[in-house]
């Protein structure tokens, strides 16, 4: 049996998930110039939110998605106002530590609230699938892919065509010039950080029925998201999509065609990062928020 179509399909679906995982981080970095080390915890909170709504009230994760996105936005906005705004002019490393500290605190608040038990939401489509020829497609993954496409498209449309989106890009490209256009930079920061967190939460909702939910699930995803964002070029949204594709294809094909490939796959990602940074020190597509 020829595995290439299957590998191709797996890789594309995985790339959708990876894009969603990284795009919020990319936006946050592109605009606010902060690598949010608590982004993984936003994913975790989204996953728990979807899980509890599903388990306690039977609300399908896809139905709770819009509401949770709003909650994610509010949480991000509050985090910005309460913490991030105070370190905007501090060195990068202080910002990293601040967000790391926030992430650690959020993780352990989750433990206190919900214990460290592993969980997962179980809507029917999470484990059903269909065949196209020889290629097996899992509904849950297709749903995740669709959500990713919709979210990323909405983000790009917002950045490209809305007034505020345009202002956000202006801030990302040149904050002083944006200020001179009458753009309130701080407000845009708060907004983008909120949107970034909302995207994190959306990722969480999507993985709530695919992956295992624990208070610690965020950190490995953050590392992966950083890898993707760096691969594509910090702050570039098309770059993030490309980064996600590169990583998903490399991992999937390594898993299919190398001995013990799925074990080495993660290593391949980091070799790729180093390689790309050596060749193109600013990622595949440079910096700044582009759409």
């Amino acid at each position: 049996m020829d595995l290439i179509p299957q590998a191709f399909s797996d890789a594309v679906l995985l790339a959708g998930l990876y894009t969603l995982m990284a795009v919020g981080l990319s936006l946050g970095f592109g605009v606010v110039r902060i690598i949010n080390f608590a982004h993984g915890e936003m994913i975790m909170l989204g996953a728990y939110g979807a899980f509890w709504l599903f388990t306690l009230f039977g609300v399908d994760p896809l139905i709770s998605l819009p509401a949770l996105i709003v909650v994610g936005y509010v949480v991000g906005w509050l985090l910005f106002k309460g913490f991030i705004a105070k370190v905007l002019d501090a060195p990068h490393i202080n910002q990293i530590l601040l967000t790391f500290g926030l992430g650690l605190a959020i993780q352990h608040i989750a433990i206190i609230l919900w214990t460290g038990n592993a969980r997962s939401a179980t809507p029917v489509y999470a484990t059903s699938s269909f065949l196209i020829g020889d290629v097996l497609v899992v509904h849950g993954r297709l749903v995740a892919f669709a959500v990713a496409v919709v979210m990323v498209a909405a983000l790009i449309a917002w950045l490209r065509w809305s007034e505020t989106g345009l202002a956000t890009r202006a801030v990302a490209e040149n904050r002083a010039a944006a200020t001179l256009m009458g753009v309130d930079v701080r407000r845009i920061y708060a907004l983008s950080f909120g949107v970034s967190c909302a995207l994190g939460v959306a990722t969480g909702v999507v993985v709530s029925f695919i992956l295992t939910i624990t208070p610690f699930m965020g950190f490995p995803m953050l590392v992966k998201a950083i890898a993707i964002v760096i691969l594509g070029g910090l702050g570039s949204i098309p770059g993030t999509v490309i980064g996600a594709l590169v990583l998903a294809f490399a991992e999937t094909f390594a898993s299919y065609y190398l001995p013990e490939g799925s074990g080495w796959a993660e290593g391949i990602a980091f070799v790729l990062i180093i390689g790309i940074l050596i060749l193109r020190p600013r990622g595949i597509l440079g910096e700044a928020v582009e759409t």
Binding site: I93, L97, I226, I230, L234, E266, I274, L277
Partner: protein, 325 residues
């Protein structure tokens, strides 16, 4: 009381504590000192790189490599204690040199991410070569001769003191200016006749070798290693927390920070260990608080306090640049 007096007496105190505790201390004291010294080595090492404008997000790479180098040398070739430490120093230096070479002119966040990638890459290697490293289920140190707990504790004390001496020597040499220039602007420093790559390689090699040494002594102390914890990102993070908590780019800052981090960590762990999740929650909050309210670190806080006490009237500072650049 001025800063100089305080700082000299603190240095002497630290030195004595590091070297005398293994001899006279109670077991708890020995244990706390050992962990503090280990963190001092990592923090000073991290701060050395940071002083040259190289922010490392992968110090666990050196730490883990040092640990594995020591355990491999000992278990496969029967290398004695001190020689295995030397091996780790060399391994760390080689990794540091390699890092300087592959990162070339990368700066800032790109350098940081490369170090992160190196650390994760090494972890994957350690996991995927179980015949060599024991894989994820870990490996125990099996020396022909165990040098005794005292020697191991002493080694960490010496390592901490030695690392501080290296940092001090660098701060006294002309390299210091080169690093400061590199931190400010690598391009400009090149015009001043400083060749960044040379200095970069030197600093990453030194910093890497001492961090590896810490990893090696830790293995002799704990007797066990596994990839998840040898290359744990939390090692990287604590090696940053300490200098930033204490005062980045300074000599004493990382040391003060290491002491504070260890004590805060122990206090929350023991005080709140019986409540699930509480100890690291409080640690995280303290970290956030420190970044927000002690941006210059403990050292900056002390200096400010002493400044205020000496009632030196401060000149009116200029308003900050509102242009957010």
């Amino acid at each position: 009381m001025n800063m100089r007096y305080v700082s000299v007496s603190l240095w002497v105190a630290g030195l004595l504590l590091a070297l005398l505790t293994p001899v006279f201390g109670s077991p708890t004291m020995v244990d706390i000192t050992f962990r503090t010294c280990s963190l001092v080595v990592l923090a000073v090492s991290w701060n050395l790189m940071a002083s040259a404008g190289l922010i490392s997000l992968g110090h666990s790479a050196f730490f883990g490599l040092g640990g594995y180098a020591a355990i491999l040398a000992t278990n496969s070739a029967g290398t004695p204690f001190w020689l295995s430490l030397l091996g780790s120093l060399v391994a760390g230096a080689i990794l540091g040199l390699g890092l300087a070479l592959i990162t070339g002119k990368m700066r800032g966040i790109y350098f940081a991410i490369t170090t992160l990638a190196v650390s994760e890459g090494l972890r994957v290697i350690a996991v995927m070569l179980p015949d060599l490293t024991g894989g994820a289920k870990g490996a125990y140190l099996a020396p022909d001769n165990f040098p005794g707990a005292f020697t191991v504790n002493m080694a960490m004390g010496i390592a901490a003191v030695g690392t501080c001496l290296i940092a001090w020597a660098i701060s006294r040499s002309r390299y210091h200016f080169a690093f400061r220039a590199m931190r400010a602007n690598e391009g400009a420093s090149q015009m001043l006749g400083i060749y960044p790559l040379k200095y970069r390689a030197a600093i990453t090699a030194i910093s890497g070798s001492v961090a590896s040494l810490a990893g090696a002594v830790e293995v002799w102390h704990g007797g066990y290693i596994d990839p998840a914890l040898a290359f744990d990102l939390h090692i990287t993070i604590t090696s940053q927390i300490a200098p930033i908590l204490g005062g980045i780019y300074t000599l004493s800052g990382p040391v003060l920070g290491a002491v504070a981090t260890t004590l805060i960590g122990d206090a929350t762990r023991i005080g709140l260990g019986h409540i699930e999740g509480a100890s690291l929650l409080v640690f995280g909050l303290i970290l956030v608080g420190c970044v927000l309210y002690l941006p210059q670190g403990i050292r900056g806080g002390i200096a400010q306090f002493l400044d205020r006490r000496s009632k030196r009237s401060a000149s009116t500072p200029m308003p900050a640049d509102a242009g957010q650049r």
